[in-house]
């Protein structure tokens, strides 16, 4: 899969490297949910800066990652949504509220620190 998943402290960082197929997006959700449990993560960052299209399916999948990860005790922040992609996303009748977003990785990590009260590992 064209996604690099790294662990940093209590957080998982999933960095999407290129346009993904629907199957790969679904596989990413499964992978992240499994890793959240295995590494006892409290936060997940999904970096979508490499996606130049986020259609209704991918938007829904991202919301689903956030909702299901929440049920596993981890908060999710999506980072790197491009301006043109954001404009396209508001055309869909999808509830994007489960999606928490931040501008970039730094802002995303800061948002997770606020949400989770900081990573347990000293960083």
């Amino acid at each position: 899969m064209r996604v690099a998943v790294l662990r940093q402290g209590d957080y998982l960082i999933a960095s999407i490297q290129s346009d993904l197929t629907d199957s790969e997006v679904v596989a990413l959700r499964e992978l992240l949910l499994e890793r959240v449990g295995r590494f006892r993560c409290r936060g997940v960052i999904v970096d979508v800066a490499a996606l130049d299209v986020i259609d209704s399916f991918v938007a829904r999948a991202l919301a689903s990652i956030a909702t299901t990860a929440r049920l596993r005790g981890a908060d999710t922040v999506v980072v790197g949504i491009r301006p043109d992609v954001a404009i396209a996303m508001v055309h869909f009748d999808i509830d994007l509220h489960p999606l928490r977003a931040a501008l970039d990785l730094d802002e995303g990590l800061a948002a997770l620190d606020t949400l989770t009260g900081g990573s347990r590992d000293a960083r």
């Binding site: 197929t21 404009i87 396209a88 869909f92 009748d93």
Partner: protein
């Protein structure tokens, strides 16, 4: 510029080249990056509609060159069972059994013109176009080119 770009759709993996071709043609036609993204997103939606509801089909994209404007026309063709209730398929928030009903209404909102023709059975053709008006400079160039052509005709 190509007369027509065709992308065969048979699985979800085919959405990736469909999106890329849509963006490439939109860029070539002078659409802004935002408009190119809106077009590529709409193409992704109607291509997925084929994958989910029919299985096999084709996306055809062509440039529309008019005096005052440029357009990118996208036609999605399949030979599936057809859409029984078009109104319902386009309705706000209606989701089909597989939860993908939002695609068509989203595509309609992303584009300027949108038309569905369907036969049950027989297949569905969705045609949609995004337009952009030529800017002042492009219009002047267009006029000049036309003048030159007319002059050549007189000689």
């Amino acid at each position: 510029m190509p007369d027509e770009v065709r992308v065969s759709i048979a699985s979800d993996a085919d959405l990736v080249p469909a999106r890329a071709e849509a963006r490439a043609l939109a860029t070539e036609l002078g659409f802004t990056r935002t408009d190119a993204t809106l077009i590529a997103t709409a193409v992704s939606e109607i291509a997925r509609n084929i994958v989910v509801h029919v299985g096999v089909g084709e996306i055809r994209m062509s440039p529309m060159l008019e005096d005052q404007r440029r357009g990118l026309r996208v036609v999605a063709v399949d030979e599936g069972p057809g859409i029984r209730d078009i109104e319902q398929a386009l309705e706000h928030g209606v989701t089909s059994h597989r939860g993908l009903g939002l695609g068509l209404s989203g595509a309609r909102r992303l584009m300027d013109d949108f038309e569905i023709r369907t036969l049950t059975p027989g297949g569905t053709t969705i045609a949609m176009t995004k337009w952009r008006v030529l800017d002042e400079l492009e219009r002047l160039r267009e006029d000049r080119r036309r003048d030159v052509r007319t002059d050549d005709g007189r000689r």
